[in-house]
């Protein structure tokens, strides 16, 4: 009985190995292969539409940003990936420093995407914009009490603030932008003020931050706007509103999801075509509708729901700087005990 089982599993394994090799071979020629840390359910509809429009198939593999960069580095010139796509400016910047991208920013992309959302060296471009701003309970807070990120460090918010964990890359990028705008010393005071105002251990998710505000555990928090969009879609009457931070000063911190064409792409042309298409009005509208993000393409309007939250001034520091300052931001947060 045991030997039969062994034979069966050996056969199954052989079939599997053959299968995986054929799969690698199948992904050649016209197909564009993408490594993405943007999740499957958010990219698949875009790729489907791209294939419909152009006839080019897209093969993709999702993973964590850092993991995929490691994999790209080790695969070197034999990588099957033509494009790397990720969800944070810091990750894009870091990927840029690891020599895995080529300079492919074309005129079409320059025409579609503003400078501050692109790499200065043309290695990657932002494709969707996410704003990280204040969210508050309309039952317990008057919007006139709110102003800036720095104001959340004021002792009037003691025991009233909820934040997402410092381990999340969006928090790191926000703090990196504060270091850039206010200088390191002031940034450290602000972040340590936040920590002493916390009503609860920092949450693992933006959605938990909003749940905590709704439940009355705290009154104000910081979230990416699309998480707010998802919540409002489900419960339109929730007593929760966004507030645009730093409107009299530097503007709301924005981050991007974006992509670049890999240095050793076997199908550069296809990958460039995909990148251009993703920056086009059509694709940008899908981004907005799918995930309630802001378009990176300055020529098109936001999704209807998204525009209902009002327009606001964005912080247009170049996002590559966010990447450069991220390690400082983490060190700072670890120093002041922001978990």
């Amino acid at each position: 009985m045991f030997s039969r089982q062994l034979t069966v599993s050996a056969m199954a394994l052989t079939t599997l190995l053959m299968g995986s090799i054929t799969q690698i071979q199948a992904a050649t020629d016209d197909t564009v292969t993408v490594y993405s840390s943007r999740k499957e359910h958010l990219i698949q509809p875009l790729f489907e539409q791209f294939t419909k429009d152009t006839g080019i198939e897209v093969n993709y593999l999702t993973g964590k940003g850092g993991d995929l960069i490691e994999r790209l580095k080790l695969e070197g010139e034999n990588t099957p990936a033509d494009m790397f796509m990720t969800v944070d400016a810091g990750d894009l910047w870091y990927a840029g420093t690891q020599d895995i991208f080529q300079d492919v920013i074309t005129n079409t992309i320059v025409g579609n995407i503003p400078t501050y959302l692109r790499d200065p060296d043309g290695l990657w471009t932002g494709l969707s914009v996410r704003a990280r701003t204040l969210v508050y309970s309309t039952e317990r807070v008057n919007s006139s009490e709110l102003s800036t990120y720095a104001d959340l460090a004021d002792s009037k918010w003691k025991g009233k603030l909820c934040l997402r964990t410092s381990k999340k890359i969006y928090t790191k990028s926000l703090v990196a932008s504060i270091i850039h705008n206010e200088g390191e010393d002031k940034a450290e005071k602000i972040v340590s003020g936040w920590v002493s105002n916390l009503a609860a251990t920092p949450n693992a998710k933006d959605s938990h931050v909003m749940n905590a505000i709704l439940a009355g555990q705290c009154d104000v928090g910081l979230v990416n706007t699309y998480y707010f969009g998802r919540l409002i879609e489900k419960t339109p009457d929730a007593p929760l509103k966004l507030f645009w931070a730093n409107q009299d000063t530097t503007g709301v911190h924005v981050n991007v999801s974006g992509a670049g064409v890999t240095k050793h792409a076997s199908n550069s042309d296809g990958a460039v075509q995909l990148l251009e298409w993703l920056s086009s009005a059509k694709a940008q509208a899908i981004y907005g509708a799918l995930n309630k993000e802001y378009p990176a393409n300055q020529n098109i309007a936001s999704d209807e729901v998204v525009s209902s939250w009002g327009s606001f001034k964005k912080d247009n520091m170049n996002l590559a700087l966010v990447g450069i300052l991220q390690a400082d931001a983490v060190a700072l947060m670890q120093r002041v005990g922001y978990k």
Partner: protein
């Protein structure tokens, strides 16, 4: 192999970052990791042992079905249980809302402090101790307990003085696996935002982009695991129990209100660790099923099934070879050491082990290039072969422990008589050892299968194109905070896992 790659990182520099970690994180992390390990260790030992003792030695209402039902929580991935608990018990969950509104009690943050996360780990991992202790109690000679009873010892005294000492190796083995899992966990600790040693590894790598320091920290984790194994061996001692006699007589009968009290206790463990979370997952799934279900799920389910079953088959094959009783193994300390090394992968966080593997492949490629060959990286990364290798390295401990336990039951007299009859070594293995070990091997296979099904980080990094599993779907949705939608694939995993656990139970009862 991944372990050697990880350990070799000490040859590389990492100075500044170490100073920063030493100033900010390390002392806290060592403390919080230790507290967690002690809490979880005590919790699973006490809970697992008591439950096992009750279902084996005492007759009480509902015992029959609770005995197998207590296995089921093993089918729930730890991170799924964690997000369900947060949804139900945190400040904004039903329980606290109800307590505040109806009872007027103040709300509290369950993620603060140690107790909620410790409890979560205990409820996820107690089945390890439970299943090992139960098997051991079943083998205890009934006359020893009867003798204890006749000498007038109370049931509690019999438990402490006879049953527990005899079951100590089994309890220690279950405890060991639990502690290694707790050390390697990243999902539960990140949902609770609790920092352990693993947090520092991820910080070194993810925040400071220092794969060297991450690997150095990870090798410390392996060192801890090595000490744990050493202590487990010590706890086991030199004692060998060759008993295969199994008794189905229960020495104690709890009737009346004591019986119902016991039922209530065991039942509430089952409720809390399985029934309640499943109910919540089902409620969430129903709400969003229509939105979440699509043809893609056929792919998720089939890749999960194929990976799970082939990894299980491969792992137990290797484990069986390692566990076969042999005189050269008993005499060679080096060989025994190597076998222990091969089971250490369990304590490595999956992501670290996966990256370690990639660097291992890279080293092989470099050697190959030196001899004029070409790089193998692109062939091996994203191949089923490497992924299966990762599973084998990671889950060897489970398969080996199970196979080895059944190998240790084989009395030396079998070998002696087989040799006397002139049987070859091969014939001895094939006709005597393997048939005797088969139940243990199969039980190991099922446990590995459940673990592979739940595994996320290595699968996520190393899988081939298009091989998304249910665990990956759960992760991708829950990472975006879409817990309701994540409940759909989670439910499928639990059903699949529960089927495997029921098969395990059937196998287990046939040999016990």
């Amino acid at each position: 192999m991944p372990i050697f790659v990880v350990a070799s990182a000490w040859l590389l520099p990492g100075g500044e970052l170490w100073t920063h970690f030493a100033q900010t994180l390390l002392s806290d992390l060592v403390l919080s990791t230790t507290i967690l390990l002690i809490g979880v260790g005590l919790g699973v030992s006490v809970l697992g042992t008591i439950l096992a003792y009750l279902v084996v030695m005492v007759e009480f209402p509902g015992r029959r079905w609770l005995e197998w039902a207590l296995f089921l929580p093993f089918a729930i991935p730890a991170y799924v249980l964690a997000f369900v608990y947060l949804g139900v018990f945190d400040y904004s969950g039903y329980v606290q809302v109800w307590m505040r509104e109806i009872l007027g009690l103040p709300g509290f943050d369950i993620r603060a402090g140690y107790w909620a996360i410790t409890l979560t780990f205990i409820l996820v991992f107690y089945p390890y101790v439970y299943m090992m202790a139960r098997a051991s109690f079943k083998r205890q000679k009934i006359h020893m307990i009867e003798a204890g009873k006749m000498l007038g010892a109370s049931p509690i005294r019999v438990f402490w003085k006879i049953s527990v000492p005899l079951a100590r190796p089994a309890i220690a083995a279950g405890l060991l696996v639990t502690l290694m899992e707790t050390l390697a966990d990243f999902g539960v600790v990140s949902l609770f935002n609790y920092s352990t040693f693993t947090t520092a590894i991820y910080s070194a790598w993810g925040d400071f982009r220092s794969i060297e320091v991450a690997a150095q920290l990870a090798s410390l984790l392996v060192l801890v695991a090595f000490f744990l194994i050493y202590f487990e061996r010590r706890a086991r001692g030199k004692a060998k129990y060759y008993s295969t006699d199994i008794s189905h007589i229960r020495p104690y009968v709890a009737s009346g209100w004591i019986g119902w009290l016991l039922f209530l206790f065991v039942f509430s463990v089952f409720m809390l660790s399985f029934a309640m979370p499943i109910l919540q997952i089902i409620i969430w799934s129903i709400e969003v099923f229509a939105k979440e279900w699509s043809g893609k799920y056929i792919g998720f389910i089939s890749s999960t099934a194929i990976l799970t079953l082939s990894a299980a088959a491969l792992t137990v094959t290797v484990a069986t070879i390692l566990a076969l009783p042999s005189s050269c193994k008993n005499n060679s300390r080096v060989l025994q050491m190597l076998i222990h090394f091969s089971t250490l992968g369990y304590a490595l966080p999956g992501s670290v082990m996966a990256v370690g593997l990639m660097y291992g492949v890279q080293n092989i490629s470099l050697i190959n290039e030196y001899f004029g060959g070409s790089s193998l990286n692109h062939l091996l990364f994203g191949s089923i072969a490497l992924l299966l290798f990762a599973y084998v390295s990671r889950f060897m401990a489970i398969a080996y422990n199970s196979a080895n336990a059944s190998a240790e039951q084989i009395k030396p007299v079998y070998e002696q008589s087989a040799r006397l009859l002139g049987a070859s070594r091969f014939r001895l293995v094939w006709k005597v050892y393997l048939p005797m070990m088969t139940p243990g091997i199969m039980a190991g296979a099922l446990l590995v299968a459940v673990d592979v099904m739940k595994e996320l980080p290595a699968t996520y990094l190393l899988r081939p194109f298009g091989w998304d599993t249910l665990a990956i779907r759960v992760y991708e949705l829950s990472a975006e905070g879409l817990f309701e939608r994540a409940a759909v694939p989670a439910l499928m995993m639990v059903v699949f896992g529960a089927v495997l656990m029921l098969a395990f139970n059937k196998l287990d009862s046939s040999r016990l």
